[in-house]
């Protein structure tokens, strides 16, 4: 049967076809749908773990118990999980363990553009890289087979364009699940103390040698010899781009990007005259191939940054950048924005008006850095807001008193905000942390987490009580507020900033898009055109439902326009009515 599938759906399908029934992940674009799709298959165990490190550790535990296990994350998630990954490479996996890294060239939804192929080399783990959905499914199966065969964790690397492109996939027959789980003891292999780790370290090099041999005949490392004047070495989606514009060139397409098949590459180099290495981001293949003493053309003509498309490759090789016939028009940009009725809007409207430094974090609320809210001033990675707020407040000493605030979402707080908050209590911090609790992982599309009280498989579960947790960490000043109430929000922030020691405000209101909680939707508000003075204060909320309409000034009046509310967009949250001094919003 042939179906249209995204790369992510295909990875989930491939994992299922391989007879795998165990997976853990933390959501993150462009990886999220893999576990969502996998969780829909019959008889699987799939969980959202609180973060990627936990997800990998859960998968390692399952693998050691004899279960084939999958862990999924976006590229930056691998940084969080790097600690267990580096060492499970030493121990091996007993059963099978595959880690999906979904990279994001062009930073469509990420804070950086790191090239995670480097992790394969760094951790000495094999890495497969599919180029479309069909390959994504097949490579997922191969990854599990390789993991078992070589007793190694295996990386499966995707990119946004593989994960989120759809193409035709031929479904295979799923392998029936076999329960091979058992408790077995093998401390020499799994207790990584120096004396034992030194021994495993040697095994890692031996395994790598075997994998190098394997790569030479691996069926997904493919040579296509056509025009012998020009050869392209590539992997993943760039193969499709290059094939599109240079169908007659010779190709060496690598299905396994680590370790590389050196003999095959040398052989290819003998067959073709001029070799281009076509790869997005780092000169990862290029440097390794150059180190073999093979002369290639790479980053001197191809960009280091952003994803490619067929045109970028064609222009780089043909060197004739023909000017766009229709240059892009200068029109207002359309950045993503907080939704109408978003609970973050009230909070960040108030915060943006305080003369304080606000360390931000990863989530929808990061969007509040933009005008007109300008409600946060930094964003580094998941959980960074808490540690940074503490560090900044310590460094500023008296100057920082009441001047440093950290903001973090509920899912992000659970992911990696707990430990730095514990640190704030322990090391006598003076900053204020605000947990923007919208009861879901909103940015990636409403995933569950421990504080929602539901699991990925839809079962009700023990719900984390954020207030109790914060208190248990040693924070004494805790307030819970409703960010729809601007007065209460402002008052709470002022009070907590004035206090000595660390404080936490839990700003609690469910995401407006969140279906399960079924908040009673209020009636859309309206502007009383007679009362509106055109002062534009409500526009300072940056609500997509409020816009500015020019009017002809009436006689004796300087008023240039009025605010208008789009009743189709307005959710009736009432924040704008609270900022209007003329009671013009009803």
């Amino acid at each position: 049967m042939k179906v249209l599938m995204s790369g992510n759906e295909a990875i989930a399908r491939g994992v299922y076809e391989a007879g795998v029934r165990f997976a853990a992940a933390y959501p993150g674009t462009p990886s999220t749908e893999i576990l969502e799709e996998f969780s829909k298959y019959e008889g699987v165990y799939a969980e959202w773990s609180p973060n990627e490190k936990v997800a990998v550790e859960v998968a390692i535990g399952a693998a050691l118990a004899g279960e084939k296990a999958l862990a999924v994350m976006k590229h930056v998630g691998v940084n969080v999980a790097a600690d267990p990954i580096f060492t499970v490479s030493y121990t091996g996996t007993n059963s099978a363990l595959v880690i999906v890294s979904a990279d994001d060239p062009s930073l469509h939804s990420s804070q950086n553009e790191q090239d995670n192929r480097n992790y394969a080399k760094f951790t000495k783990m094999p890495m497969l890289e599919p180029a479309d959905a069909q390959e994504a499914k097949e490579f997922a199966k191969i990854a599990f087979a390789l993991s078992k065969k070589f007793d190694t964790p295996v990386f499966l690397r995707s990119t946004t364009r593989v994960s989120h492109s759809k193409s035709i996939v031929k479904l295979g027959k799923p392998v029936a699940y076999q329960d091979k789980t058992a408790i077995t003891f093998n401390p020499e292999k799994y207790v990584m103390v120096p004396a034992l780790a030194r021994l495993r370290r040697v095994e890692v090099e031996k395994r790598l040698e075997k994998l190098k041999q394997y790569a030479e005949t691996f069926r997904e490392n493919k040579m296509e010899i056509k025009d012998r004047r020009f050869g392209i070495i590539t992997a993943g989606m760039p193969y499709n781009y290059a094939k599109e514009v240079f169908p007659d060139f010779s190709f060496l397409k690598l299905g396994m990007v680590y370790p590389l098949p050196e003999k095959m590459i040398r052989n290819f180099a003998k067959k073709v005259k001029k070799i281009y290495v076509v790869e997005e981001l780092d000169p990862y293949l290029e440097e390794q191939i150059r180190a073999m003493g093979i002369s290639v053309i790479g980053k001197e003509i191809f960009p280091y940054t952003n994803e490619f498309d067929p045109g970028i490759i064609e222009n780089a090789i043909k060197k004739h950048l023909k000017g766009d016939k229709f240059p892009a028009q200068k029109i207002p940009s359309r950045p993503p924005n907080l939704c109408p009725g978003c609970p973050h809007r009230g909070l960040f409207y108030v915060l943006g008006k305080q003369k304080v430094f606000i360390t931000g974090d990863i989530g929808c609320y990061t969007l509040s850095f933009m005008k007109p809210l300008q409600g946060l001033h930094s964003c580094i990675c998941m959980g960074a807001s808490v540690g940074m707020a503490h560090g900044m407040s310590k460094a500023l000493k008296e100057k920082g008193k009441g001047k440093v605030v950290g903001v973090i979402g509920d899912s992000t707080f659970v992911h990696s905000g707990i430990t730095p908050l514990l640190n704030m209590a322990y090391n006598k911090s003076d900053a204020l942390i605000i947990i923007c609790d919208n009861s879901t992982t909103a940015m990636t599309g409403m995933q569950e987490h421990p504080a929602t009280g539901f699991t990925l498989l839809g079962e009700p579960s023990k719900q984390l009580d954020l207030k109790l947790l914060v208190s248990a960490l040693g924070i004494e000043n805790i307030k819970v507020i409703d960010p729809y109430n601007l007065g209460e929000t402002k008052e709470a922030i002022k009070e907590e900033l004035a206090k000595d020691g660390p404080s936490v405000i839990i700003s609690q209101r469910g995401c407006v898009l969140f279906k399960r909680k079924n908040y009673s939707t209020e009636k859309p508000l309206m502007i009383d055109a007679e009362k509106c003075t055109g002062c534009k204060v409500c526009l300072g909320l940056g609500c997509p439902a409020i816009s500015w309409k020019k009017i002809e000034p009436k006689e004796g009046s300087k008023q240039q326009g009025i605010s208008v509310i789009d009743e189709g967009l307005c959710t009736g949250c009432g924040i704008c009515a609270q900022v209007c001094k003329f009671e013009a919003i009803l």
Partner: protein, 194 residues
Amino acid sequence: MIKKNEVKSVLFAGVGGQGILKASDIICEVLIAAGYDVKKSEVHGMAQRGGCVTSHVRYGSKVYSPLEKSGNVDILVSFEKMESLRYLQYLRKDSSIIVNSEKIYPPAVNIGASPYPSDIIKNIKSRFALVCEVDAADLAKKAGSVKTSNIVLLGALSKLMNIDRRIWVKIIENSFPEKLVKMNIDAFQMGIDA
């Protein structure tokens, strides 16, 4: 049918929430049913929060890249009026454009910091031979719900694609719950008649 070795492409553009991904999913199924190899690309995530959304659909006897290069898109379907201007560099002189009359103001226009571009249709008509403006929201309301705007636009697009209407109808029928099928078939027909 298109020529052997030829790949055609449609670029869908608009704003998060307009049903662009659903529409491009439907057209992929239609193309598969019509016997083509198909690849489509889209970007999720941040774009869901009212940002720009695009989806490339490419089809032919064998398709490699899901992304089209600049200056090579055959048909642009813009779900929002101004967004049509954002992607002109993807088009050739002989490309066709279907543009929805709907205006969705970006933040800068909403707060009065910059104007919404004027004379958009005149602007693109002066550069491209085939520009078809469709008031999809109006037609969709007549079909039963403004939410079928995306299917109205598919109807308009279908006129440029030379694929049996029966295939379109069958795929649209399969794409919605039963109670929404008639409304969407009506919307599709209104797009054809527009």
